[in-house]
Symmetry: C2
Subunit: 113 residues, 2 copies
């Protein structure tokens, strides 16, 4: 029983780490409706620099949540899209958003003493 709990937590923590980057969830959301080209992605997401967007996409790609597709057109076209794992991660992310929408305003914040 306690083992089950502890196991469940360790598993969940993997997911928490994957989405805990400052822009990870924003980028996953921006790809929710289908493949997007890098330029459009930056337009859609306000306030992200090109450097940070590139870093975030590379990390998500390395973590298996996002894939980069390169089409040999003229000029070559690049699109990013969610993998199956990335798309399914939107379910818990939305559950976190629902929770926060209900409780965030009434909670004290800050992890400092």
């Amino acid at each position: 029983m306690d083992g089950v709990r502890f196991f469940a937590d360790c598993q969940a923590r993997v997911a928490v780490e994957l989405i805990s980057g400052r822009w990870s969830m924003v980028v996953l959301y921006a790809l929710a409706e289908g493949p997007v080209r890098p330029g459009e992605l930056r337009e859609q997401i306000g306030g992200i620099s090109q450097k940070v967007l590139t870093e975030t996409l590379r990390r998500l790609e390395r973590n298996g949540l996002v894939q980069r597709d390169r089409y040999a057109e003229a000029p070559p076209r690049v699109e990013y899209s969610l993998t199956a794992a990335g798309a399914d991660l939107l379910t818990p992310i939305r559950a976190l958003g629902d929770w926060a929408a209900q409780y965030a305003d009434q909670l004290p914040t800050g992890n400092e003493p």
Copy 2:
């Protein structure tokens, strides 16, 4: 639309921050079935020091996820339990656990380049 996305993300990030501590989810899980005394809590959770357990409980209490109840018995009895916000947070945590159970093993890990 993009505004909605971005808003949803900001809200979700509050929840991610609340559960991202090393032991936060373990302690929330350990309280899932009802109030627990601090000594039992430490027995149930393997590998947590008294100091870290106390710090985790205080942070969760400060964040409005856990409450501390003190009963004026002889000797005085202290129990910790989930608030409504803490109990409802188990839903997205379980969704993260379900996701991780399905995908964690097949994903590359590591946030380093």
